[in-house]
Symmetry: C2
Subunit: 337 residues, 2 copies
Amino acid sequence: MAERKGKTFTFEKEIRVLSSAGVAGRLEGEGPLGKCFDRVFEDTTMGEACWEKAESDLLTAAIRTALKKSNLEEDKIDAVFAGDLLNQCISSSFSLRELNVPFCGMFGACSTMALSSLAACLAVESGAMSTCMAATSSHFCSAEKQFRFPLEYGGQRTPTAQRTVTGAGALILSESHSKNLPRVKAAHLGTVQDLGIIDSTNMGAAMAPAAAKTISDFLRDTNTLPSNYDMLLTGDLGLVGSRLLRELLLKEDNIDISTVHQDCGLMIFDRDSQDVHSGGSGCGCCASVLCSHILDEMRRGKIRNLLFVATGALMSPVSSREGESIPGIAHLLHFVI
Amino acid sequence: MAERKGKTFTFEKEIRVLSSAGVAGRLEGEGPLGKCFDRVFEDTTMGEACWEKAESDLLTAAIRTALKKSNLEEDKIDAVFAGDLLNQCISSSFSLRELNVPFCGMFGACSTMALSSLAACLAVESGAMSTCMAATSSHFCSAEKQFRFPLEYGGQRTPTAQRTVTGAGALILSESHSKNLPRVKAAHLGTVQDLGIIDSTNMGAAMAPAAAKTISDFLRDTNTLPSNYDMLLTGDLGLVGSRLLRELLLKEDNIDISTVHQDCGLMIFDRDSQDVHSGGSGCGCCASVLCSHILDEMRRGKIRNLLFVATGALMSPVSSREGESIPGIAHLLHFVI
């Protein structure tokens, strides 16, 4: 039985990452983490006629690679928890259509990697399932088409805009006593926060308050400090959102995360040499970084105590056109090894 | 600890419905279940300037009514599990923005009521949460606008088409030993099924194979027969999908559900006097029917042993335009009292 304190729950079972895989596109492959991904696809059409199918193929590649690395057949997976940014989550649904595995559809926008992993942990902890997968994807071209402008339009992006990562991540969770596998020790489900940001080209600012609240609540619930962790890894706040998060935590809660904070959106690209403005974003950003580089660093013992906080902007182009501000959310997982 | 057999899990805890609420629009209020809903809104704009906000208000009304009926304050709810059919699930996100409660976003299309309840049960069973809410909504006008044609176009619907229900449902789940509250005894997470239906005006046919598989798998896992249940209630297969489901189960698995099968999409409207073609559909269809009429019938002891099977069509207008067939999914909950 998981133990609750505030809104944070600690798992009794040793729920560990049996395997994980992060895949990415060409530009991500040319970035600082290029060599860390399990697969890099030079042709981001994936040989498909449309971007949605290409994204779905990326997700399938991450899922298949994670399965292969675990040496498990798909019938050993009790369920896949997955979602994505496309309308009606078609990247996930169409990818899962190829697998004969129960499917729990999730929606957390760019927080999906944390949300789906959290839900998978609840399933394992409850005993209802033994081995679960969590997965998500995004694709620069399907996201631009759906959320912003057709690529052919050649629209200029604002300095605060982030570049949706073409990538996907998948990880397999199960009870295990192998001390050399990363363990999900605790988790914290976020609450919607909306400070009134209406600029949909500044997602970092819209999501930072949600990250601040989740981090602050978690540290209070667990009576810990940022310095108790090797790394506090946010999903895709980018440059603008990361600065805001540090500022918010410092000014409002007197919490200084500057020595341990990193952001997947800033790690995945080299902002000096790659044209990505405020950094990377999208479900696939922190999914591909967590499921490759970060969990590998944990397996190597380089990171032993990680807070992973993935943020999501829960808006749609329709809600923005209707004048609504952008609600944000942040879910947290505490990994140890 | 939940017990697994095949893909079905039985909860060890007595997870019961503390309260539930179903709300609906004018047309649904004029239907056979009109008097059963907790609230009927004559003005389905809900006083808002756009349909998405109206749908979100409906969901809020269901959530608030369920809370009121439970006599719980919102801070006693550990999380709300919710989702809807709108792009990026904005009905749920914007509704949840008003509540200061952790939010687990789900995507299951019209299966969301079963999916979100199932996930909430896993959270309670795991011990991570004590009291959870599951909720979902749909609105005829927001669905037509997004999935089909603008209402002003006055498009004709095909005979197989269903009418999206304007409605929402919410229920609160917690461990309880009150024998007079409906209990979720077991659940079964569905697997994506796609038999190649490409007609997006015939969702019942697209979803029937998924319902057949989930029902057949559940009956085999539990070694039970349809006659062991008072009612086998499907979500929104409508007339065409319901006939197909019965036929599929009879021909392929020799399972006859005709004496116990009912469909929320057929119950909510009077097809003779209301212009709804093949019946009702949408997340709000089975959500409003389950959370009002059906659970009330259980509380009255009229239904003691219910299989609730909600189906979803995991497509988007984009996937249909790209020539894809429609993947279906069905999730099952077994309620007893």
